[in-house]
Structure formats: C-alpha cells, structure tokens
Symmetry: C2
Subunit: 144 residues, 2 copies
DNA sequence: CAACGGGATTAGAACGATTCTAAACTATGA
DNA sequence: TCATAGTTTAGAATCGTTCTAATCCCGTTG
C-alpha cells in the first residue's frame, strides 16, 4: 500500500496527538507541530532556538516563548531530557533513556553514547543529607 | 616566631605576585587581590559574582568586568579550571588537577571528588575526525 | 451547535549573566 | 622620569531565557 504525503502527515499528527494526550498535555496546534518534528526521527538534540528555526522554516508560526514553554513541559512530562554541557545554552534530548554524550563544543553538537557502553565505578557516597540524583558523563571532543 | 597580620598579608601578596609572574600575568593590584583570595585556602569553587561579592566585602574595589576578565585569564593560564554543571552560571575551580564533582543544584554547591576515586570505563572511540579532550563526570545530588 | 471557562499562546518587556567599548589608568623597561 | 603597551572601568550592549498581561482556542456543557 502506498501512502500519499498527506496521509503520512495525518498519521504523524495523530501519533503526536496521542503521545501528548498520553502525557497529559492538551494537544494544541503548536504542541502537535513541535512533537511531530521532535519525534519524527529517532534521537535528536535541540536547543530552543534551533527548534524554533526549524519549525519556522517549515512555515509554521510558533513563538519562541511557546518553544521554551513546550520544551520544559515535554521535559517535565518525561518526553525529553535536558542535557547540561554548555554554560550558555540548554540542550534537549529526545532520548530519555540512560545514556551519555560526546560534546563538540565548537559546533554545539551532541552525540549519544548508549547507556551500557560507559561504566562509572567508584562514585563515593555523597556527604550526609545528600542523595545521588544521577551521574552525568560528558566526553568533550574537538576536531583533530 | 610570631607573625603579625600585616606580615602575613605581605607574604600572601608576595606569593600571589610570584604566582602571577610565573603564569606570565602582570601582577596588577586587582589580580593580586583576586589571586590572594582564590589561592589562600586549598580548593575553592567560585562564580564571577560570588568572587566579586567576596572581594567587595573585603573592602577592595574591583569591577565585575575585571573579575570576569581575571577568571578567564587565570583559566587560560592554567591557574583555574572552568566547571560546567549549570546552564546559567559558570563556576571556576582552584583545583586544576584530575577530579570530578558532586553538584547540589538547589544551592549551587560543588564538592570535589578526587580523581582516583571515580573510574570511567568503556568510553568509545569518538567519531572519525574527533579526539577526546576530556571526560567530565558530574554526580548530581539533592537534599534527602 | 453555541457558549463558556480555564489552559495555552503571544508580543514585547524584563531579566540575569556575560561581554563589549572606549576612555582613564598603571606597571614596566628604557 | 617617560613612554607605551597592557589593564581596569563604568556603562552600554548582547544573549539566552523568563515574565506579563492580553488574546486565543480546546474541550465540555447545556
């Protein structure tokens, strides 16, 4: 069976809508558009600005404020994960599972490293009154 | 032999001056003051603002711009190391050796973990054309 | 199917951290 | 002591992000 472009788009929208509903988020036009872009392909890393540019280039009108709101809501809903590798920009990762990253600072590029690949041993017990939330590993790389 | 406060201060200044000269930095009043504060005790973690507050509280006049300049110059000279754990503020660490960190986000607090303590195994080879610069481990903790 | 109510979106202002600018200052070598 | 190149500075500018308050629209109800 061959699908027309229109049919594919409709399916994407339906899938995004379902995903949003499931996460307890009202499927507004903007959220559906953003979710479609974010979850169309497998693993993606975006910043608020890169996503805003992308959605704008696609001819869709979404304000930057909404992109920020949406990224945070998706993160809270467990659809995204925030990655902290740069002290001046926030990255969001569509891969919410256990994994780590290569980070090429000069180009702001993130590359996933599967969770099983890296083993961190010897993490000491945190000082009294503190509990480990999670262990992040960032492998900083440069062009060579 | 007992030292007066004035004598101790003089020694600190001399030490800071020597350290700056050795790093190829002209020992200006401001740089000497900041170096004295930073390297007085062993390991410290500061932000530009916390250091500016500290130096101001000590009754010394240094502009915030100079604090920023100095932190970056010290980092470039290898006297400090920048720690990236927060996407909205930069931290600087007087411990430039191999080590990792606990980070208590709610209070912006960093705690060193000695380098030998944690072992990271299984870091994959980076994609072609890229070389590993360094591997950062951040153990994010919360009050419990 | 129209009306309603509360969540969602928006433009633009506000914000905090950081960097820039251009003028005044100062450490250093001659 | 002087000249000069490097430093410092106040204040403006910039950047990413958040806030505000008005408008909009999704889903429910009558």
């Amino acid at each position: 069976m061959v699908k027309t472009l229109r049919e594919s788009a409709k399916e994407m929208t339906a899938a995004a809508t379902a995903r949003l509903r499931h996460a307890g988020l009202r499927p507004t036009r903007q959220r559906v558009e953003l979710a479609s872009l974010l979850f169309k392909t497998c693993d993606r890393h975006v910043t608020a600005e890169s996503l805003h540019d992308e959605v704008s280039d696609a001819g869709v009108k979404v304000s930057l404020a909404t992109v920020y709101n949406t990224l945070h809501q998706f993160t809270q809903a467990g659809l995204l994960r925030q990655v902290i590798v740069d002290s001046s920009r926030s990255y969001f990762d569509t891969n919410t599972g256990d994994h780590q990253h290569f980070f090429l600072e000069s180009e702001g590029m993130l590359i996933d490293i599967p969770g099983e690949t890296i083993a961190v041993a010897g993490v000491p017990a945190p000082p009294p009154g503190l509990a480990v939330d999670r262990v992040d590993v960032v492998v900083r790389v440069r062009r060579s």
